[in-house]
């Protein structure tokens, strides 16, 4: 059974026919070949599949593609703008917040969702917002520092 959907990913519009059983992470990785979003567990427990749907972070392994009909999705591949890297991406590089990098896309997207809502987010808020993304390399300290620095760069002051 195929369901026609149209959706926008990183500003680009797609018209696709999907199966109801297809999850958003499968659609992104396998149909659109956007492999920056990862699937670390498939059960919503690791966060590596987090993307933004109209600015809201969700576990794309638990979202059916059919539920994204008419919606706008932002993945890691869409984070950098025309002018270059997003301040979060720059900050992660400057602060050394990347080790193996597998959780990095999810951390960046979660960080963006937070800073867009709470520009001057402090350490506790950052830790809370990122608490659903597991980093086995244990980069949490530098990741939190990087998000804080990006927030300051983006003009958020407390």
């Amino acid at each position: 059974m195929k369901v026609p959907i149209d959706l926008t990913v990183n500003g680009e519009r797609y018209e696709l026919e999907v199966e109801p059983r297809e999850t958003l992470v499968e659609l992104l990785r396998e149909r659109l070949h956007l492999t920056g979003t990862k699937e670390g567990c498939g059960t919503g427990d690791c966060g590596t599949c987090i993307v933004l749907v109209e600015g809201v972070p969700v576990n794309s392994c638990l979202v059916l593609a059919v539920d994204i009909k008419g919606r706008q999705v932002l993945t890691i591949e869409g984070l950098a703008g025309e002018g270059g890297l997003h301040p979060l991406q720059e900050s992660f590089l400057e602060k050394g917040a990347v080790q193996c990098g597998f959780c990095t896309p999810a951390m960046l997207m979660s960080g963006k969702a937070l800073l867009d809502r709470v520009p001057g987010a402090g350490e506790e808020e950052i830790k809370s917002a990122l608490s659903g993304v597991l980093c086995r390399c244990g980069s949490y300290k530098k990741i939190v520092e990087a998000v804080k620095a990006a927030g300051e760069k983006m003009g958020g002051k407390r």
Partner: protein, 296 residues
Amino acid sequence: MKRLRPFRYFEAGTVSEAVGILTREGVGAHPLAGGTDLLVRMKRGDLAPGALVNLKRIPGLGGIEREPGGGIRVGALAVISAIEHSPLVRTSYPVLAEAAGVLGSPSIRNLGTLGGNIGRASPASDMAPSLLILRARMLVEGPQGKREVEVREFFKGPGETVLSSGELITSFLLPDMAPGSGAVYERIGRREGMDCALVGVAALVTLSGKDHGVKDAGVALAAVAPVPLRAKRAEQVLLSGSLTEERMKEAARAAAAECFPISDMRASGSYRQEMVQVLTYRALARALRLAEGGKA
């Protein structure tokens, strides 16, 4: 990762349409709300519905609004994060926002719904204890029409509710909290974040304004019985006199005595029972401070 097996798919435009499809399809069909529980169970092979009925296109089920006669209505499809951040909930029912804020993880909270959480009837539901102490009611609609169910009558066993075939929760009604009330949610997991509750305790006290006299009390427990449950004897202890340290401790002991937690791979029954006592006392102490007008 594990792939979902194919299923037939329906999108309902109204509640009666959803009810109609579910009734027609029978046990092989399952309603789909946030999917954070259902899809996981399907991937693990614990559930294999032949058809899913997507409820999320039904308008009017996601709101959080004041009711004209008092209290608030929370739509069954309101997502947990909306409850967590709703200014209305945070001012009028902070315990509900508190519980919403510890459920799962931020991104899961953006998907999971209140109706899904309660409808799942997990004994460990983080949202149930607050609804119980707040005396919430639910509006339900099915092939026989609409009815109201009190949350405390809703749960029959783990994963079992009073809903009959084709019935859906449409909204939750919460009466106003009485002035002089304080309510909080305490829970313990295996780590700080992203965990199910090993034990959850919601406690409410309403002071009568004289020497810590108690006009109303509510204690509800999660994860220590086949259903989320009101600790009645603990409540009776609280209502029996003024709210002293000793009475709160006695209530905590009573709560521990009236639950029957199992031992599973997450924790032993005896640890859970002990934590009921510890958390109930802590919840009551915090609720008291709130009721007195301080901070929890």
